[in-house]
């Protein structure tokens, strides 16, 4: 029987070996093809064809707007025609649309035929104009990029961190004072190189302050209306009153209205509505105040309307203008219709031309693809299309060759790799590398995404670490770590309640969160000690129940800082709390620096490192060793005189407390603290991350935490971007996250949990 097994494994090994050889051979062929493609790009004939393709691309860009506008015009003309018809109303909306679209497509096809391959008489003149434009853009473009980057950095810093603009740019402050106030948040604003930007930022600050005022006023008005409609039960008493008389009676009833005469109109309007309803014997419901707690969460993008160029850039822009004019003259000579463009179309022509000629924006394969798509094959010299095709595929071929080679290597060393790292980790790591390759293929910046991954590592790292003592002490995947998370959130809202800021707030949130989690974790561990063998089920259930329980808790707890409670009812905590004024991004920004364009969140990484180091020390201590033994073989531990229940308690409490610190770190990296049902899924994310890292439900090490959180977040960040570029629409990444994380948990349970209990 064992001989059969040996034979079978040998057979498997043999087929893997052959497959990997085939893959290597394919990779080699692709590599050679790719190299020849790169070589071809350098050849003279390709260069000549490249120029032709560029010219064609410029012409295409120039006519793109024109074609679009012709198509649109045709569509609206058709619509007008249909409207004039008396049968118009009988037609359905879909029918109207399809008729109009057909007309548009027809017009577009005709326009394309007209403009797509225009006769170029003076090729040399056009080409020289294009080249001038390109070289001017190369210098001015770089300058523009640089200045805009400096602007964007300050902009994002300001918008992300200033929560009270009315204080920063209070009425009556002069520009210099506003700059001083802004410099507190973004010191770079006062750098000599950025002086020209200052007026723009002053304008920004004033606009933001105005917007904030408007928002606050609207909010207050909403609250007053809500308060008024809530307080007055019987509107018939006010029947017949109007204007100032009504206002006076209302103000007598509701003293809060005094001093808020600026909302008089809106209030009276609502009152009139209710009075009218009351006279008809109806009762209108209480008006709800708008919820300002739901703030948009996401990355801030720079708004360039406050950007001011330097003199140098302004001069470059003039050169640019001249070059564009020259090019435009050439283009008009070829396509006279371009001369007729006005207004918006003229502007968009320029934008699309600049886009085409912007340095580095047209790589070989894109040029080739667009050229071929427009049927430009005939114009290429000497049947060069095949070599050009090869040249255009050089990058894709290179990446494909690397991918195949990697797959071959993994198959070749399959046994060594899976023995060393386990099947899931090998597959996920390979998947991650493939995602990097795909990102390169889709021109997505790998560097930026690596920065993103680092950021998310600091965000989730400590939470994932919380899984470790749970696994070690034998309770398996501690899904009940949400108990710790909620304790941590309690610590955060306490720090907000006391208006604490900076590192003091962070420290306070961590310590008080850990303190709350201590008794909770202890009680939770007592429960788990009574349910040996079913810990996973119990902990998941307890985690969910505790979240639900605290949904009531968050409403009932006696917090009273108006910043964090529902303004309307005056009690109960809001769902989302911005930590901007408190400790948002505090650790991540601490000592952070940029390397190769990757933003390194030094503080967060350091903190994670220190936590991991402490955990490592603990697992080498006498108690730590006893705990691990109690987890992996309780009977063995008992025989050595160890109190297994006590060790399980130690591990569970430790896990819960780390989770409390973890959620504080998570919230500071996220910038918001989310209460109520938000922490429910965190256990699953942490569990799948540590399992990807190589842990099992009965064994975990610090290295599993670090590798796991990197791979998990890496796959998510890259997967999200790539999924979005391959398939339009945003939902895919979330689906993928759920599939990956739950799939990994399932896999781990079947692998180690199932085999263990036999």
């Amino acid at each position: 029987m064992s001989e059969q097994v040996v034979e079978k494994t040998a057979k498997k090994r043999g087929s893997r070996f052959i497959t990997s050889i085939v893959l290597f051979a394919l990779a080699g062929v692709m590599l050679i093809a790719s190299i020849s493609g790169y070589v071809l790009r350098g050849s003279a004939s390709t260069r000549a064809n490249l120029d032709r393709m560029r010219t064609s691309a410029v012409l295409h860009a120039a006519t793109e707007g024109l074609v679009d506008s012709i198509a649109q015009t045709a569509r609206s003309a058709k619509l007008k025609e249909l409207r004039a018809d008396k049968n118009f109303r009988k037609r359905g909306l879909d029918e109207v649309n399809s008729i109009c679209d057909a007309a548009m497509e027809e017009a577009r096809a005709e326009a394309e035929k007209l403009y797509n391959n225009p006769v170029v008489e003076d090729e040399a003149a056009l080409e020289s104009a294009i080249e001038t434009m390109e070289s001017v853009l190369a210098t001015s473009g770089q300058l523009e990029n640089r200045e805009k980057a400096a602007y964007a950095e300050i902009y994002v810093q300001l918008v992300d961190n200033i929560s009270n603009w009315r204080e920063t740019a209070a009425e009556g402050m002069d520009d210099a004072a506003i700059i001083e106030a802004l410099a507190k948040t973004a010191p770079a604003i006062k750098d000599a190189g950025n002086a020209h930007l200052q007026p723009g930022f002053v304008r920004l600050a004033k606009d933001m302050a105005a917007a904030q005022l408007a928002r606050e006023e609207a909010e207050q008005q909403g609250q007053l209306i809500s308060m008024m409609t809530g307080a007055i039960a019987d509107w018939t008493e006010y029947s017949g009153l109007e204007g100032d008389a009504l206002w006076e009676k209302l103000a007598a009833e509701l003293p809060d209205l005094n001093g808020n005469e600026r909302f008089k109109d809106a209030l009276l309007e609502t009152a009139a509505k209710h009075i009218a309803a009351a006279e008809n014997g109806e009762t209108l419901p209480e008006e709800a105040a708008t919820d300002e707690g739901a703030e948009t969460v996401g990355e801030t993008l720079a708004d360039y309307s406050y950007f001011i160029p330097t003199d140098e850039l302004a001069k470059e822009r003039q050169d640019n203008e001249a070059a564009f004019e020259a090019l435009n003259v050439q283009l008009v000579r070829i396509i006279p219709d371009l001369g007729e463009l006005t207004g918006n179309l003229q502007d968009s022509l320029r934008v699309s031309l600049e886009k085409v000629l912007w340095p580095g924006s047209l790589d070989f394969s894109t040029l080739y693809d667009t050229y071929m798509a427009r049927g430009g094959d005939a114009a290429l010299t000497g049947g060069a299309s095949k070599t050009l095709k090869l040249a255009s595929l050089a990058e894709a071929l290179l990446l494909g060759s690397i991918a195949l080679m990697l797959l071959g290597l993994v198959l070749f060393f399959w046994e060594t790799l899976t023995r060393r790292f386990g099947v899931p980790r090998t597959i996920i790591a390979l998947f991650f590398i493939y995602l990097c390759l795909l990102a390169e293929l889709y021109n997505i910046s790998v560097r930026m995404m690596l920065g993103n991954v680092l950021e998310r590592m600091t965000m989730y790292g400590v939470l994932v670490l919380a899984m470790m003592p749970g696994i070690q002490c034998g309770i398996g995947l501690n899904m009940g770590m949400t108990i710790g998370c909620i304790s941590g959130l309690l610590g955060i809202v306490l720090s907000l309640q006391f208006n604490m800021t900076g590192f003091a707030a962070l420290l306070f949130a961590c310590l008080s969160g850990a303190a709350f989690s201590l008794p909770l974790g202890w009680a939770y561990s007592k429960l788990l000690n009574r349910m040996k063998g079913n810990e996973m089920t119990i902990s998941t259930y307890v985690g969910f129940s505790f979240v639900s329980l605290m949904c009531i808790g968050w409403m009932m707890l006696p917090f009273n800082n108006p910043k964090i409670i529902w303004l309307l009812s005056g009690r109960g905590l809001r769902v989302t709390h911005s930590l901007l004024g408190s400790f948002a991004h505090l650790l991540d920004k601490f000592l952070s620096f940029k390397v190769f364009g990757i933003n390194v969140p030094t503080g967060g990484l350091l903190f994670l490192g220190v936590c991991c180091f402490i955990m490592w020390l603990f697992s080498r201590s006498r108690t730590g060793i006893a705990m691990t033994a109690a987890g992996s073989n309780p009977r063995f531990a008992e025989a050595s005189g160890i109190n297994v229940n006590h060790m399980r308690t130690v591990g569970t409490v430790l896990s819960t407390m780390i989770a409390a610190v973890g959620i504080v770190i998570y919230s500071q990296a996220f910038g918001y603290a989310q209460l109520y049902t938000a922490p429910r899924q965190l256990g699953f994310i942490a569990a799948s991350a540590i399992l990807i890292g190589g842990a099992t439900v009965s064994k975990a090490r610090v290295s599993h935490v670090l590798i796991g959180v990197f791979l998990f977040e890496g796959v998510l960040v890259f997967g999200q971007q790539i999924a979005n570029s391959v398939v339009a629409g945003g939902g895919l990444s979330e689906v993928m996250r759920i599939m990956i994380s739950n799939g990994i948990i399932l896999y781990a349970l079947t692998q180690s949990g199932g085999a263990r209990r036999d």
Partner: protein
Amino acid sequence: MANEFVLEMNHITKVYGSNAVLKDVTLRIRPGEIHALLGENGAGKSTLMNVLFGMPVIHTTGGFEGEVIFDGQSVHIASPMDAMSKGIGMVHQEFMLIPGFSVTDNIKLNREITRPWPVSRVLGKNLEFLNRSAMASDARKALDAVGMSIEEYTLVSGLPIGHMQFIEIAREIDKSGMKLLVFDEPTAVLTESEAQQLLDVMKKIAAQGIAIIFITHRLDEVMDAADTITILRDGTLVTTLAKSDTTTEELAGLMIGRGSEGVIHVDKSARQLTGGTAMSIRDLWVNMPGEVDRGVDLDVQEGEILGIGGLAGQGKIGIPNGIMGLYEARGDVTFNGQKLPLGDAQAVLKAGLAMVSEDRRGVGLLLDQSIEDNIVFTAMQVRGDFLKPFLRQKDARAIRKHAEDMIRELDIRCTSPTQPVGTLSGGNQQKVCVARALTMKPKFLFVSEPTRGIDIGAKQLVLETLVKLNREQDMTIVMVSSELQELRSVCDRIAIVAEGRVVDILKAEDSDTAFGLAMSGKRAKEGEKA
């Protein structure tokens, strides 16, 4: 009767892998006789019965050689169901009864008497009504046959254990066409009077012409009830005797036999024990599943190797496990004059006791951890060895050195001290267990089944190590083993445990008869021991 024998099992040989567990065994049963099947654990009794019942374990491991003739015909028994339909029944050692059902329901389970009605005529037999009165009268008849006066409609769940045994038997008797019944240690859980009643019932059944195979290790019962006796030892047939031709003593001797020589030879001639008492055990009760002790009294002398032997399930393993705090225990155990707190493993370990567990993989080792971590674990936890003063971190260098010493000393075959113990062979795992116990620097060592499941070379080395420790370091050793030969070759004295008590304390050179009697719970007279 046409045939002299109701069952003939001729020249049965059964091989598991390369290990022959039955070698040319022949068993012949006459109708209406009670045929006792005797033998130590591992003698081949269960395997022979598995062959008889056509258990899957036999068929999936390559079947057996020899022939089975039942009722005059050569038969192939494919499964226990098949055996039952041919008229072979089994009274199980563990009760196969459903507690929530009445006595009648249990007796008639799956053989219910049913009454058809219109719906069942259309939709099939499964929907027929139960004919309860017919079933009850059948059950009554069967119960009367086994001498049970209980009402047939009582629920099984409340009955005393003894009664359940009788219900089992009643169920077997109730089957029509029953020709042969196998009783597998039926008296093990019964009180003395119940056992007597059972023997009477057996005789009654036999008198009706049903043959009985009676498996037991209680020689008294054999002498009381059996007509013919077959003795197996190490898979071979020793002899088949008529009861009238033999005595209890002869049976005991035949059961044990002087088998092959012990795995090692130890010279015990020059032994002079100091005579002081290292440990005295009084009235020790241990609640270990399958190995219950009911009042063990035993003294262990300083510097001796004391063996504890006995059949499986009699309580010999419970003694070390109870004292070391692994199972619930009560009684008085004093060690060097100090009372040991039972149930507190840490305190017992601190007092200088250590144990090598019989459950190597379950209790003895952390399988996925390294050799060195396994070796130092208990010493680190109990004595605080191998720890650095700073943050009580483990002292990796000291651990490595100690582990390397141990590996050399005990000849543990491994690639390095960091190899996970789960990947070692059984013998080397056992050596790691011994190393872990020795790291505690114990004055007193319990070794439970030290040679179970390891190859002969490793066996030798483990036993030699124990003797060396005893001789050179003056360590008192209590060794529990199922292999009598092993105990006799190593130990100074051997205590035999049966039914949870120490029956006798014997010397290695005492006669087989003395050992055989002790293992079946009887003490040999002084003159017969030699």
